[in-house]
Amino acid sequence: MNKEINLGRREALKAGGGIGLMAVLGAYGLLNSTAAMAEWNKAAFSSKAMDEAFAAMGAANPEVNATAIQLSVPEIAENGAIVPVTVSSTLANVEQITIFVDKNQNVMAANFIFPAGTESMVTTRVKMGQTANVVALVKADGKFYRTAKEVKVTAGGCGG
């Protein structure tokens, strides 16, 4: 266990030290070579309300489906700066999963695109300014579905 972590660290360090220029070029190449790379959806990411964001994602009135989408969030977040979110789906042909926080100033947090062969699940962490709903939007076979769960963001004492 410990050994694995150390190996990981050393590799990351190597990458950080020696091959700076290559890394920059590499990133440029990777992110620009493939024509299929979806564009950063400015309209969706700057939406202030859920309806607006759904529309910008081409998903007006997505069907509510809490069984085919599994949204895992903590009931209480000790700190709104890190709220873990896992979304997975049992729907066939999931192409895209999008995560929103309905009371954040910009409601859309992240969008994930799943090529064939990648499992329909992702875990990430989002910021929440206050108690709010985390909303998951799933696109499968060209159709949109959504579900939501509330996360309570609490005020802390000195803590830990």
Binding site: I5, L13, G16, S72, P74, E78, I82, G157, G159
Partner: protein, 272 residues
């Protein structure tokens, strides 16, 4: 299986069970929900980056003398980092003092590398704008004790004395709020706001608390050292500021570290 393990099993079950079932279960307390949150963020600790930074600093020549810290003796011989933190604080013959990790790093940085002490102690803690070398070094060193049992010695008379003085500091009430460490940390099963408070008179609590620092603090986006932990406790206690790596901090650390003996060191941690 002890109580906390049972709790963990319940939590894992509740994580996999449906949300509705969990919400309906009145047996799940808010403390359990907080524990569930901590469990969910436990993988992927940004303290790893501070560890990496510290390792580089440890191995890279630096200071006016342009030498690395690889000859620094943290108590287990020059250059031995593995397991060193699990035995700190300890008495050091060369300085004739009991030292915690950060005061020992300070000794190495000043003597081996020739860095003026004031350059280090002026800003010993990381801030949003600037990382702290001594703090990153500490994060690296503690990471090398992960999984090793805490075994802080009280054999040397000076170690014993530091422990005894530390205990007195722990119970010392002063300031506008009349607070001592013991005001919040000598009773079991109480919390401040939503956070459970460790009772340092209970070994299990003391072990869990001590072995999870240093830690990445989510609220600050920074990895925090044990000296910082004490510094911020005193701030919230409404005390004046303890001088960095001073005897008051080392002796208090000694008292807390000894009460955590026997537990596997588990840091760097990840905290709210």
């Amino acid at each position: 299986m002890n109580i906390s393990n049972v709790k963990k099993v319940i939590l894992v079950l509740s994580l996999t069970a449906s949300y509705a079932a969990v919400a309906a279960d009145a047996a799940i307390s808010d403390s359990d929900r907080i524990e569930q949150y901590r469990e969910m963020i436990s993988d992927g600790n940004p303290a790893d980056f501070d560890e990496m930074r510290g390792e580089e600093l440890w191995k890279k020549p630096g200071g006016p003398k342009n030498v690395s810290l690889e000859k620094c003796n943290l108590g287990k011989g020059p250059g031995v980092v593995k397991g060193a933190y699990a035995e700190l604080p300890r008495y050091f013959k060369d300085t004739k003092k009991v030292q915690d990790l950060e005061s020992r790093l300070l000794t190495c940085m000043t003597t081996l590398q020739g860095i003026p002490e004031a350059d280090i102690t002026a800003k010993p803690f990381a801030s949003e704008k600037k990382a702290s070398d001594i703090s990153s070094l500490a994060t690296y060193v503690v990471g090398q004790s992960k999984g090793i049992k805490m075994a802080v010695s009280l054999k040397h008379p000076k170690e014993k004395e530091a422990y005894e003085i530390g205990k007195r500091i722990f119970n010392y009430r002063a300031g506008p709020y009349d607070f001592a460490c013991s005001t919040c940390h000598a009773t079991s099963d109480v919390r401040i706001r939503m956070q459970d408070l460790p009772n340092f008179h209970v070994q299990k609590d003391a072990q869990a608390a001590f072995t999870s620092w240093p830690a990445y603090r989510v609220s600050q986006g920074l990895t925090r050292s044990f000296q910082w932990r004490l510094n911020d406790c005193f701030r919230q206690q409404r005390f004046p500021e303890p001088k960095f790596a001073s005897e008051v901090t080392v002796d208090l650390t000694m008292f807390l570290a000894v009460s955590a003996n026997g537990a596997e060191y588990a840091g760097p941690g990840l905290k709210r």
